[in-house]
């Protein structure tokens, strides 16, 4: 190291001491994230065991009252099941479509730039605005989707797709899959470009066919990055309330309600902070599952030679 001798002479200067700089550089972010993520999470847990409302926000311990209330609420159970089903289905579809899209975006073709911008639209557009556009495409009379559903007699009379439980639920899933597939594709693309070209070619020379190379080389090597894409997809699906709020309003009835939107309805609109916090806490196991998968991926990547 050419500068080593010179640097030892400056060791006393604070601006040269790596240990000090590392702390000084990281500390603001750590303090900020602790104050506005870690501490508020603790506060949410505390609220879940409290009688706090928006009129009387001061803390009064209530034991398990909120949880008893929540367990007796059929809308909660409906929302919990919807959230789990939505997340599961979305992850599977997004990973599948995202992998196909990633491979497509890596191929060279004319107008590739235009296609890339159009493909990014679902990811970069604010979710709530995408939901407006989808509601306009799905829910308004005379739109292509409306006409298609009528011609195939899936829809009759004055019905709209968003007014029928099954179609409304399918729409919520579709919009989530649509908006998260490009993000998954970008993550998988990164994984694909990191696979050394030589490995693929060597497998070909060894006589491995196309599918053998896909299942024997590409998938094992991109598995960690695919897991990362799946975790982010799940995290962004179960935490989102914009799609349901704007697209279906949780309806028809409460048939497409999800936990985040319900926590908002109870905690903010009804002002029952304790009840809302108790509902929101049921997202914590999902978050924890994501953390465990991520930690396994990290450990695997560290173990790699």
């Amino acid at each position: 190291m050419p500068g080593a001798g010179r640097r030892t002479g400056h060791k006393t200067r604070l601006a040269d001491r790596e240990g000090f700089l590392a702390w000084a550089f990281l500390l603001p972010s750590i303090v900020y994230l602790t104050a506005l993520v870690v501490a508020p999470f603790g506060l949410t847990v505390a609220f879940a065991f409290s009688r706090s409302t928006s009129e009387a926000p001061s803390y009064r311990f209530a034991g398990l009252r909120n949880f008893r209330q929540v367990f007796g609420d059929h809308v909660f159970w409906r929302s919990l099941l919807d959230t789990l089903a939505l997340t599961g289905i979305a992850v599977v579809l997004v990973v599948a479509f995202g992998t196909v899209l990633a491979n497509l975006l890596l191929v060279d073709f004319r107008y590739r730039r235009t296609v890339r911008v159009l493909v990014l639209l679902p990811w970069t557009t604010p979710v709530a605005l995408s939901a407006i556009s989808w509601r306009w495409l799905l829910g308004s009379a005379g739109s292509p989707v409306d006409r298609l559903l009528r011609e195939t007699s899936l829809l009759h009379g004055g019905e709209t797709p968003l007014g029928r439980t099954s179609l409304a639920a399918a729409s919520v899933v579709a919009v989530h899959v649509w908006r998260l597939t490009p993000l998954a594709a970008v993550i998988v693309m990164a994984g694909l470009t990191a696979v050394p070209r030589g490995v693929w070619d060597a497998a070909r020379l060894d006589g491995a066919g196309f599918w053998r190379r896909v299942f024997g080389v590409t998938i094992p090597l991109t598995l960690p990055v695919t897991a990362v894409a799946a975790v982010f997809t799940a995290a962004m699906t179960f935490a989102d309330m914009a799609v349901v709020r704007v697209l279906t309003g949780g309806g028809p009835g409460d048939s497409t309600q999800v936990l985040p939107a319900l926590a908002y309805l109870r905690g903010v609109e009804r002002g029952d902070i304790g009840n809302g916090a108790a509902i929101a806490l049921f997202l914590f196991p999902l978050f924890l599952a994501g953390v465990i998968v991520m930690l396994r991926v990290v450990r695997r990547m560290e173990a790699r030679p």
């Binding site: 557009t125 604010p126 005379g142 975790v231 908002y264 902070i273």
Partner: protein, 293 residues
């Protein structure tokens, strides 16, 4: 005899060449077909939105002139506070970008270059923060915001949005900083700069293209956030576009529907174009991360 063998060989070669050519054409057809499908599906709601933005309403008077109309665009700007929403989003987004860079750039440098034994653990912890779902925090953060006197103000969003943008930015910036050659930094220190000086004068300027990418992504994240915006800001004139525009649907009259969806298209297109400029950079930095260890 010999000539016949040669002819057979030539015919066989020609056949194989034609087969290869046909395979190539087929592959191209598949690629273009898939590309057109992907683009159409991804752009579908906005394409339909763009078409209908300039269409007459079905229940307009039959005397309405044929051809496109700009009536809905006019209504969007005159009967809804769309312009105010957009300005609010630009201000919040701009301030969030500044705060995010100020926090994330030094943190990223610490993780990328100042090799500490706890470096990897800190990096993983920061990444995990980006998985924390906002519904776990919005009720308690709204108490925090109220206590600080920021309720119903976009300053609440400036305070809270970096919780979403900092973790992502730290990771991407660390990737961009790692791509700056270590030699340059050491040369700067040989030339008499301190470690801090080398970072500020040599490394940071080299990472400017990466920072531009992070700026665009941070802005897009801030513009797209919904839960906090809905909880912390409830006066129409202070809302960002992500909650303001959908809010017009619940209390606006149905005649505004066409104008509101036009507004969604107007926001979607420039954001996608801006992010599209940096796509290759995101992929490159993520790929470097995926293949690092």
């Amino acid at each position: 005899m010999n000539g016949m063998a040669a002819r057979t060989a030539a015919r066989e070669m020609g056949r194989q060449r034609r087969l290869a050519a046909a395979q190539h054409v087929l592959a191209r057809v598949v690629v273009y077909g898939a590309a057109v499908c992907a683009a159409l599906v991804c752009a579908a709601p906005f394409l339909w939105g763009l078409v209908t933005a300039f269409e007459h309403d079905a229940n307009d008077s039959p005397r309405a002139r044929p051809g496109p109309t700009t009536e809905h665009v006019r209504l969007l700007f005159h009967s809804t506070p769309f312009a105010t929403f957009v300005v609010n989003t630009l201000i919040v987004g701009g301030l969030v970008v500044v705060v995010t860079l100020a926090l994330a750039l030094p943190a990223a440098y610490a993780l990328a270059r100042l090799n500490r034994s706890w470096g990897t653990r800190a990096a993983v912890a920061i990444l995990l923060v980006s998985l924390v779902p906002s519904p776990l925090l919005f009720l308690s953060l709204s108490r925090v915001v109220a206590t600080l006197g920021l309720a119903d103000s976009f300053w609440a969003l400036v305070l809270v949005y970096p919780t979403v943008t900092v973790p992502v930015s730290v990771w991407l910036l660390a990737g961009f900083l790692r791509a700056v050659p270590v030699d340059l930094e050491e040369q700067a220190m040989v030339d008499g700069h301190s470690r801090l000086g080398a970072f500020v004068r040599v490394v940071a300027p080299m990472a400017l293209p990466g920072m531009a990418a992070v700026v665009v992504l941070t802005f897009a994240l801030a513009a797209g956030e919904f839960t906090y915006a809905l909880t912390f800001v409830w006066s129409g004139s202070r809302m960002p576009v992500s909650t303001g525009l959908p809010g017009r649907l619940s209390d606006g009259d149905p005649m505004l529907w066409r104008s509101v969806q036009t507004g969604a298209v107007f926001v979607a297109l420039p954001l996608a174009v801006a992010c599209g400029l940096f796509l290759d950079r995101f992929v490159a930095v993520l790929a470097a991360g995926a293949g690092r260890e």
